[in-house]
Subunit: 158 residues, 2 copies
DNA sequence: TGGATTCAGGACCATTTTAGTACTAATAAG
DNA sequence: CTTATTAGTACTAAAATGGTCCTGAATCCA
């Protein structure tokens, strides 16, 4: 359904680790060893995260990576966007007006809305929540599809 | 973010057309001409939809395709599942226990939940809604992530 | 200063997925 | 029997993904 690339999963794992207490700064090598992911791959992911501004890096001896901001302020959507880029839902959503089907097709716009809604929901899901999933501390979410539809979440008392 | 393959988009377009008033039965050729999608591709998509039980087909002269059930009872999730298959969110979700990272990784389960939630939301979004998106008739959605989190949608008065 | 460490930026390749095509068989109508 | 139409499947081409490697730049420290 919703497919998350391996790279994104790696990113989440790594970020979650960086978010741990006292993790502070870690080198790519440390992270690779800890995570059992290949070093080049870890490097690549971290570089992307750096470009996206989710982690800060220090070069040179005693360098490494650490979170750019607190885990509270990093959302699942941030991670997705960072690693997978702002990819459109359909071809048409990228080049509007160029699609032959556009006249017939009323769907594009709706998928778009759904996409947007999901994105917004994920924007409310914090790294903290991802990391502590088992603890179950997941906060309230509000999603809005288009001008009319709202999706809202709240914590149920189990 | 959420990426929908072209094929899925085609499927939606075609289904929406079949759902139109008085559409009844259409041949693959008609649908191809109407939609401006290549005939072989249209064929392929329709065959998949047939296998998934979303459309029924009649062979031979005067044959064609039509919806297997009313557009009310076909959900966005059905379409996704039909065309894209029941693909897991991450590698690990498919082969649990085989992943080296599993010990470190607390994320998998959460992504899983998110995925599930989205799927459920989409299960409440009907073909009817997709087809009439512009009319804005989008109903209430309820999403549940795990035992604790609930995402709920409702129609806002604009 | 110079060497060691560590990230930055690409280029690059292998594999998998996706999209699309083609061909043959089956089924039904007339 | 002939024609219309879907079913099944195999195949190819193109793109995305996952992963590697190399070269250069920053930083630290002796
Ligand atoms: S398929 Fe192009 S606009 Fe819907
Ligand atoms: S990456 Fe395999 S369990 Fe999370």
């Amino acid at each position: 359904m919703l497919r998350i690339s391996k790279l994104t999963d790696y990113a989440t794992v790594l970020l979650a680790h960086l978010a741990e207490d006292g993790a502070g700064q870690r080198t790519a090598v440390e992270l690779a060893e800890w995570s059992k992911i290949g070093l080049p791959t870890v490097s690549k992911v971290l570089k992307e995260l750096q470009r996206a501004g989710l982690v800060v890096s220090t070069r040179g001896a005693r360098g490494g990576y650490s979170l750019a901001r607190s885990a509270d302020t990093i959302s699942a959507a941030d991670i997705l966007d960072a690693v997978e880029g702002p990819i459109g839902l359909t071809e048409c959503s990228i080049h509007p007006g160029q699609c032959e089907l556009e006249s017939n097709c009323r769907v594009g716009r709706t998928w778009q809305r759904v996409n947007l809604a999901i994105h917004q929901a994920l924007a409310d899901l914090r790294l903290t929540d991802l990391a502590n999933a088992e603890a179950g501390a997941i906060p309230e979410l509000i999603i809005r599809i288009g001008p009319r539809l709202t999706i809202r979440s709240r914590t149920e008392s189990a």
